[in-house]
């Protein structure tokens, strides 16, 4: 049968048509063998554009469709649906990418861009010529989700998925869920206490009948694909049976070994057997082997074991690997602060009274090391002057991170305000580049700090901080008055940049999901798919995807959860059928495909003496096809013949 291919060239307003001569392209393609109809239109993805495609399919009895427009990642699905509605198999609808890979990158050479657009479309016509009608492959799906990270984003995602009716595993690497939000004092712009709004959620998720919470656990391995992931979770040895432990806390009270508390950002000590904070969920300790005297001093301590009333301490405990199956994974691994060590001009962490924003949060917290009193770390004195610095490591493309960390303007405003509420006659300075207050009630909050709480905002950067004679000396500039500023302060608080959690980067590598160049998880589309990864089955929530405040993290988590629920609404998962197949007539049974398949989808059929592909497992990577010496392994709708033809078309003219 002669192919009857329709070519639809989109102007994308002036995005394509401003560079590529779309009329000429449509005309040229109309003359190309196998093309039965060719046209152009302003916005092919609009309702009238899609209608035009559908009507042309019927009117011209088209067997295949090429839409020459933006990248297939944007509208391939749109036009495949349109094609199906008009009777063309979705897998015979192809996108020719003449925007991202042509008009947008060759703006100064319209002639060359037009020539290239023609070639690009011809390659897709050649591909479409041999495209088969395919159906998605239905595979069974595990209706259970995994949420990685037990901060506010992970908690919200787990709650929403569980409340939608699906089993959920919530994995947190620390001993308690809660994340950074549990460390915060009060939250902008309402100044409600972070723990007061956080802890009920922590309890709710821990007690949810459909949530299996695994703290002190890490993802060891993930294999499989959307709908059918196999996960291995390492349950780290806590050296006590947390199922038996009743959380009485006697062990923590008696433990003689101390080390700086991570939760209190080093402003206080914790014991070697510890819960990170009193409201921890679960409120059961873990034993930190590195600082435990039993482990570091040849078994000479053992106090916790002796004192435990339920005898749950077990020094012989080992890590345990738990295996499970899930259908979707939400990654909510959160953020870290940019290392203070990298800011040598501000002392790099060597001055005790130059502290990080999270340290100040702990200091302000009623349950923190100073019980909410502002006392400088060096001598416990109440500071009379405090300088707050925004953009410590942010918006500094030469030396540090180029991006805006988004939350620092607001939390430093909050810090300055809370400091003034606690030390009424104190002086708070905030150095800023711009005060960014884009959020509901944020600008009002900032105005309140400046006007009602007399926080002094200085527009300029601080060049140097040093500690001298018990003072923290801050050298900066006020660019509005054009004067140099020197402040002899008692304490300085650095609004350090938000960076992705270090462990999250490794995890992203293991999961094979994209990150941006800074390690933040990359969303499938920056505007229209902000809660999904490009890798199917992975969803993103919270600051792991980019700096964000609490309401944004919660909103994104709920968005990710709704995407998971959407996926789980179907009984089966429908996979792309662009997979491998073996020509039984020519396969010589050499088993090269079996040896190169990363998924064990190619296997040797003893009876037939040839290789066969297991359709439910094949991911369509094409490794077997490239390796097959007799070209018997082929890929559906991307056969070698299609590649040859595309190459020839790319070189024509």
């Amino acid at each position: 049968m002669e192919e009857r291919i329709g070519v639809f060239v989109c102007h994308c307003g002036s995005n394509i048509a401003g560079v590529v001569d779309v009329k000429r392209v449509a005309e040229e393609l109309g003359k190309y063998p196998g093309v039965a109809y060719s046209t152009d239109y302003t916005y092919m993805c609009s309702d009238p554009g899609q209608t035009m495609v559908k009507e042309a399919i019927k009117e011209h009895n088209l067997s295949g469709v090429i839409v020459a427009a933006c990248s297939p990642t944007l509208h391939e699905a749109t036009f495949r649906r349109a094609g199906r509605a008009a009777g063309v198999n979705p897998y015979q609808v192809e996108i020719a990418n003449i925007r991202e890979q042509c008009s947008w990158v060759h703006q100064s050479d319209k002639e060359a861009a037009t020539e290239k657009a023609i070639k690009i479309i011809k390659t897709m016509v050649e591909k479409a010529r041999l495209d088969e009608a395919l159906d998605p492959i239905a595979v069974p799906m595990t209706h259970k989700a995994l949420v990685v990270g037990g901060g506010i984003a992970g908690i919200q995602a787990a709650l929403d998925i569980a409340n939608a009716g699906y089993e959920t595993i919530l994995v947190e690497k620390g001993p308690s869920i809660g994340g950074h939000m549990a460390q915060l004092s009060e939250t902008f712009p309402t100044l409600d206490c972070s723990q007061c709004i956080m802890t009920p959620k922590m309890v709710e998720v821990a007690q949810h009948p459909r949530v299996k919470m695994m703290t002190y656990s890490e993802i060891e391995d993930v294999s499989g694909y959307v709908g059918n992931f196999k996960v291995k979770i390492r349950k780290k040895a806590a050296y006590l049976d947390r199922d038996i432990c009743n959380g009485c806390g006697l062990c923590m009270e008696k433990c003689p070994a101390k080390t700086p508390s991570e939760f209190d950002e080093g402003l206080a000590d914790r014991k070697a057997i510890y819960t990170p904070f009193p409201q921890a969920v679960p409120n059961k300790p873990v034993l930190d082997r590195e600082h435990c005297l039993y482990f570091t001093n040849d078994g000479k301590c053992g106090v916790c074991k002796k004192i435990c009333p339920v005898q749950c301490v077990d020094y012989e405990q080992e890590d345990e690997i738990i295996e499970d199956e899930v259908g979707a994974i939400v990654v909510a691994t959160g953020y870290d602060l940019y290392p203070i060590e990298n800011l040598g001009e501000y002392g790099g962490g060597k001055y005790p009274d130059v502290i990080t924003s999270l340290q100040f949060e702990r200091m302000l917290s009623a349950s923190g090391p100073t019980e909410g009193e502002v006392k400088r770390p060096s001598d416990g004195k109440v500071p009379e002057t405090v300088v707050f610095l925004t953009c410590c490591g942010s918006r500094d493309p030469e030396a540090h991170m180029p991006y805006c960390s988004k939350v620092c303007c607001m939390y430093l405003t909050k810090h300055a305000m809370l400091y003034k509420h606690k030390v009424h006659d104190g002086q708070a300075y905030v150095f800023y580049i711009d005060v960014r207050t884009a959020g509901k009630g944020y600008e009002e909050f900032y105005t309140r700090a400046a006007e009602e709480d007399d926080v002094l905002y200085l527009r300029g950067k601080v060049s140097k901080i040093f500690q001298e004679d018990g003072k923290v000396v801050v050298w900066g500039a006020d660019t509005l008055s054009g004067k140099k500023v020197e402040i002899e302060a008692d304490m300085a608080v650095l609004g350090l940049a938000t960076v992705p959690n270090a462990a999250a980067r490794e995890l992203a590598n293991m999961l094979k999901i994209h990150t941006d160049e800074w390690g933040f998880l990359a969303e499938a589309h920056p505007k229209l798919r902000p809660v999904e990864s490009l890798a199917p089955g992975f969803y993103l929530a919270g600051a792991a995807q980019g700096p964000k405040d609490i309401p944004e993290a919660v909103a994104q988590a709920s968005g990710a959860a709704s995407k998971v629920a959407h996926l789980f609404a179907e009984e089966e998962y429908h996979r792309e059928p662009i997979i491998a197949w073996i020509d039984e007539d020519t396969c010589a049974g050499c088993r090269v495909c079996v040896s190169v398949c990363p998924y064990d989808a190619a296997e040797f059929d003893d009876e037939k003496g040839i290789a066969v592909i297991k359709e439910a497992i094949c991911e369509g990577c094409g490794a077997c096809i490239a390796a097959c010496p007799s070209a018997s392994a082929q890929q559906r709708n991307l056969t070698d013949e299609q590649v040859y033809r595309m190459v020839s078309a790319a070189l024509e003219g």
Partner: protein, 173 residues
């Protein structure tokens, strides 16, 4: 000025997405390359590269995910070995191995794609047009390999083997 013809085989997860990012960032690069999108650089059969040169390509650029980042575990390592092997074969055939280039470009590396594309086009331009000794390059009208099972078994349409014969042998210069 001689404008080389370049075929780019890009994996859809990393390099193709990197090329899209270059587009959304409006970065400009020379228009010499046309992209063939593959699921994985490991899908690339060495014969695809030889075919490209036979059909008149002056250069072939392969783009895949960085080592360790392959969406399909290790397809890019297979490509790495194949590219090394191919360079030897090309050399034996009298084709400068520099006409084939493999680069790891991630979805976040739009800038890198732009730089590599520019450098590669310059390099191939310096090498000049590829003249194949046996056939005289593009436009020789040669038949496509007839023994491709996909062509004969799975498709009703036979390759238009004479298509190339109508094209002039002259290069655009």
């Amino acid at each position: 000025m001689f404008e080389p013809r370049i075929v780019c085989f890009f994996c859809k997860w990393c390099t193709y997405a990197g090329a899209d990012l270059a587009g959304t960032s409006r970065k400009q690069y020379p228009p010499n390359g046309v992209v063939v999108r593959l699921n994985c650089s490991g899908r690339l059969d060495p014969q695809h590269v030889l075919w490209a040169f036979r059909e008149g390509a002056d250069g072939v650029l392969i783009g895949g995910c960085h080592p360790g980042d392959c969406h399909y575990q290790d397809g890019n390592y297979k490509t790495m070995r194949r590219a090394a092997f191919l360079k030897r074969v090309l050399s034996d055939m009298g084709i400068e191995p520099e006409r084939l280039h493999l680069e790891w470009i991630s979805a976040a590396e739009g800038d890198k794609l732009v730089n590599i594309m520019g450098e590669f086009v310059d390099r191939v331009r310096d090498l000049g047009p590829l003249e194949l000794a046996h056939a005289g390059g593009r436009g020789n009208g040669g038949a496509k390999p007839a023994d491709k099972p996909a062509a004969t078994k799975k498709t009703a349409a036979a390759p238009e083997s004479a298509k190339g014969a109508e094209k002039p042998a002259a290069r655009k210069s």
